[in-house]
Symmetry: C2
Subunit: 451 residues, 2 copies
C-alpha cells in the first residue's frame, strides 16, 4: 500500500526560490507611471518597499538563495505534505490519481505565510520597524501578523470594516500574534478620516484599505507597506510550494499531467505552477489551469492590457488581465478571489497560452468542497474549493475518457474560519452568479489607454 501522505525531510527543503522571469518566452511588460506613461524605475517604489524586495521584483536571475533566517521561519510548518486524495478518487470512481499540496498546515492556515515571512525579513534587515497592510476577509492580515511576530516587527492592519465586524475570528487571530488591527476606513489616516466624514456608515472596501495602508507607510520613516499577492516578488516566494511538490511527486514515482490552483491575485497558483513551467516549455505534456469564480472572471473574460492595481489609483499601471479597476465583484464567499486584475506574470503566461483558465459558479464549487470534506476529511477554504472543483471535473473527464492522468492541485487554505459559508450553502442560500457581462463592459470603459 502506497503512502497517503508524501512527506519530505526538513533537510530536503528547497534552499532557493525559482524565478520564472528567467524563462519567459517574452519579457514581462514593465509597470508604467500613470502620469508619464513611462516605465517606472525601482527607486519609485522605495518609499513603500525595502530594496531587497524591489530587487527581487525586477531580477531575471533564475535561482535566488533563501536566507537562513527565512529558512528557519519556514521550518515552523514546512515542508508541507503532498497528499494522495485516494478516498476522493474512489468516490468519483476515476482512474485519475489526485494529489493535493496541503498549504493549510501553516499557523495562519494558508499559503500566505510563505511570502509574509520573507517580506518581513527583508524589511527587518533594512531597519524597518513597522509594516502596514490591508486585509479583506483576513487571510493575508493574519499571515503578516504571524510573520511580523516571528521577526519582532510591529504590524498595523487595515481590515475592511464589514469583514472586521462580520468575521471577528480572523481579527482575533491577528491579536493572538500581536498584530494591531483597525477597521477601515479608520480615523488613523487622512484618507480614512475623509471617507468617514463623507460616509460615516460605509462598509469599507479593499481599495480604501490599500490607500490607508500605503498613506501610513509613506508618512512614517520607520514604516513600509506589504502586499500579499500580485507582485513578482510575492509569487517568487510562493515557489517553494511547487519546488517541494516536484520532489514529492518524484518520491511517489509520479509525474503531473494536470496542475490546478485557484486565482485571486494569483500567488498560490503561481507558487504551485511556476516551477513546472520550464518542463512544459521543454515539451512535457502538461496542462496548467488557473481557476476563478464566474463572478470575477479576470482571465476567462477580462482583457490583457495596462490597468491600475487598485481602485484608488495608488499603484502604477500593470499589464495584466483585468475586468477594469472600477469593477466590483459580487459578494461571493471566496473573498480572496474577488480581485479585478491578475498577477502580471500569471497574465503573461495566460496570454502566451502556457497556462489556461477556467471559471466556476459558487454552488457547484461548494458541492465539490463538501464532497472533499466527506471523503478526505479536511474542510477547504471557499477559495481552495475552486481548485478542488476543477480537479473533480478533470477527474470525471479522465473517467469518461478512461485515462489515468495525474492531477495535482494546491490546497491553499482550510475553511475553519469560513464555516458560515458552508452553512449558507446547506441552507440553499448561496447565489449562483453569472458572468457579469454588463458590469465588465462598464468597468473596462474606465481603463486608461496606454500606447
Amino acid at each position: 500500500m502506497s503512502d497517503k501522505k508524501i512527506l519530505m525531510a526538513e533537510k530536503d527543503m528547497p534552499q532557493r526560490w525559482y524565478n520564472i522571469q528567467a524563462d519567459l518566452p517574452n519579457p514581462l511588460p514593465p509597470p508604467i507611471h500613470p502620469g508619464t506613461k513611462q516605465p517606472i524605475g525601482p527607486e519609485m517604489l522605495a518609499p513603500i518597499f525595502p530594496m531587497g524586495l524591489i530587487k527581487q521584483e525586477v531580477t531575471t536571475e533564475r535561482w535566488i538563495d533563501i536566507p537562513d533566517p527565512i529558512m528557519e521561519a519556514l521550518r515552523i510548518w514546512r515542508p508541507t505534505p503532498l497528499v494522495r486524495a485516494e478516498r476522493l478518487e474512489k468516490a468519483l470512481g476515476t482512474p485519475a490519481r489526485i494529489y493535493y499540496k496541503n498549504e493549510s498546515v501553516s499557523p495562519a492556515g494558508s499559503h500566505k505565510p510563505n511570502t509574509a515571512v520573507a517580506q518581513v525579513y527583508y524589511n527587518k534587515i533594512e531597519g524597518v520597524k513597522r509594516i502596514t497592510t490591508e486585509t479583506g476577509a483576513g487571510q493575508w492580515g493574519s499571515a503578516l501578523s504571524f510573520a511580523c511576530n516571528v521577526f519582532g516587527v510591529e504590524c498595523k492592519i487595515y481590515m475592511v470594516r464589514v469583514s472586521y465586524e462580520q468575521k471577528p475570528y480572523r481579527k482575533m487571530l491577528m491579536h493572538c500574534w500581536g498584530g494591531n488591527v483597525v477597521p477601515s476606513p479608520s480615523p488613523d489616516t487622512e484618507f480614512g478620516r475623509k471617507v468617514l466624514a463623507e460616509t460615516p456608515d460605509t462598509p469599507g472596501s479593499l481599495g480604501i484599505a490599500i490607500t490607508e495602508a500605503v498613506e501610513d507607510a509613506v508618512k512614517r520613516d520607520d514604516t513600509k507597506y506589504s502586499l500579499g499577492s500580485v507582485l513578482n516578488h510575492v509569487l517568487l516566494h510562493q515557489t517553494v510550494v511547487g519546488l517541494e511538490t516536484k520532489e514529492q511527486l518524484k518520491i511517489a514515482g509520479d509525474k503531473a499531467d494536470i496542475l490546478i490552483g485557484c486565482v485571486g491575485g494569483g500567488s498560490n497558483f503561481a507558487g504551485l505552477a511556476f516551477p513546472f513551467v520550464p518542463d512544459k516549455l521543454k515539451g512535457q505534456d502538461m496542462r496548467i489551469i488557473a481557476v476563478e469564480p464566474t463572478a470575477c472572471p479576470s482571465v476567462t473574460r477580462g482583457e490583457y492590457r495596462y490597468d491600475f492595481g487598485d481602485t484608488g489609483h495608488m499603484t502604477p499601471l500593470l499589464k495584466m488581465f483585468t475586468l477594469g479597476h472600477t469593477f466590483i465583484p459580487s459578494g461571493i464567499h471566496a473573498g480572496g478571489l474577488r480581485y479585478h486584475g491578475m498577477a502580471p506574470l500569471v497574465s503573461l503566461l495566460a496570454q502566451e497560452k502556457i497556462i489556461e483558465a477556467a471559471a466556476y459558479r459558487q454552488n457547484p464549487v461548494f458541492k465539490s468542497a463538501v464532497l472533499f470534506a466527506r471523503t478526505e476529511g479536511a474542510i477547504p477554504a471557499p477559495e481552495t474549493a475552486h481548485a478542488i472543483h476543477c480537479a473533480v471535473e478533470e477527474a470525471l473527464r479522465c473517467k469518461a475518457e478512461g485515462k489515468a492522468k495525474t492531477i495535482v492541485f494546491n490546497f491553499s487554505g482550510h475553511g475553519h474560519f469560513d464555516m458560515a459559508s458552508y452553512e449558507r450553502y446547506f441552507e440553499g442560500k448561496l447565489e449562483d452568479y453569472e458572468h457579469p457581462e454588463a458590469a465588465i463592459r462598464k468597468a473596462m470603459a474606465d481603463v486608461p489607454e496606454v500606447p
Copy 2:
C-alpha cells in the same frame, strides 16, 4: 541542525493498541450497579454499546490488534508529528528540551477522532446503522460526525443548547460531515420534551444531553450510543498517540523525563501517557502529570470513591476521583475539562501515585497559550493550553535548577473555534476561579455510599 518536526512513515504506525489493564499494580475496581451495589456484567451494557467495544472495556490482554479498516481511517491524518518546541525553549531560556505531539492535525482538529473512527467501526460491523452522542462545546460531536461519515453510519448529536447557539461553527463543522445536530433539550426524546415543558428557556446541560442520547439509543434497535472519554475502551484507542511518541523520541535520540496532558475525562492524557507507564513501573525515572483547571480539580481536590458518571444517574457507579456528580464547574473556556469525575484508569494510577496532578487558573494558562502562539505559531485550544502551561512551569523549573530535562506534552487540539476565549483574555475579562471548596463539599454530600 536537528529537525523541528519528527515525522514517522505510515508503514511504521502502531498496529496494536496498548491496554494498560494488563500492567496495573492492582486490578481496576469494576463498575457497580447503583441499585444492587453489585458489579455489573458486560451484558448490561449491550443495549447501548456493541459487543466489540464492551469486550475491550473489560479485557486484560496487553495488546489489541487494530483492524485494517480502522488503520485505513487513521491514515487520513496519522501518524501525527512530534514537534520540538525550540522557539518556545529559546523564549523561556530553558535548558529543557520541549516536545509536543500534534494531535490537532486531524480533520476535527483534536485527538478525538482516534477513538471516534474505532468506535464507529465496531458499531458498523455489528450492523448498527445509527449512533447517538452528546456534545458540549462540540469537539466530540464533530469528531464522531467525521467518523460516522467515514464508515457511512448515521450520526445524531445532542448539543447543549447554549453551545449550539453560542458556538455555531462547530455545529456547522458537524453538518459538513453529514451529522444531524439538534440543540438539547430537544423535542426528539421523551426526556427532552419533559425538560422543555418544565423549563422552556433552559440553556441545557451535558447531563441532559447524555440522557437524551442514551434514551434515543436504547429505544431504537438500529441505534447505539457513543462516549468520547472516561471509559477504558476510549482510552485504549488513544494509546496510538503515546506509541507513536515513543517511536518518535527514539528517532530524535531522546527520552522523556516529564510527560504532560490536560485532563477532563482523561483520554488525551491517557493516550500519551499509558504506553510509558510500563517503563516507569520498571524503574525509569519519569514524572507523568495530569493537568486540570482549578475550577474543576477532580484529581487534586476530589475523592477517590464510587460515583455516578453523569448528573442524571444514567450510568453505573464508577470508582474514580470525583468532585461529586452534582458539582457544576464554573464557566471556564476550557469546556472539555469541565467534568466532575475522571476516567477510572487514570484515577487508579493517580491513587497509586504512578501519575501526579496539577491544577491551574485560567489567566496564567492563557498567558502561556499566547506565549506558545507567539513562539511556535500554532493556536492551542483552551484545554490544551493547560498542558502547555504545565510544560512552561516545568521548563522554568529546569532553568532554575540548571537541568536539561526532556518534557513532552500532548497538543490535544487547536483553538481555531475558540478564538473568542482569546479575545476575552486580551480584554482582561477572564475570571480566575479559585478552588471551589464549598461547592465541592456540597456536591460530595450527594455521592452514594458504596460498602
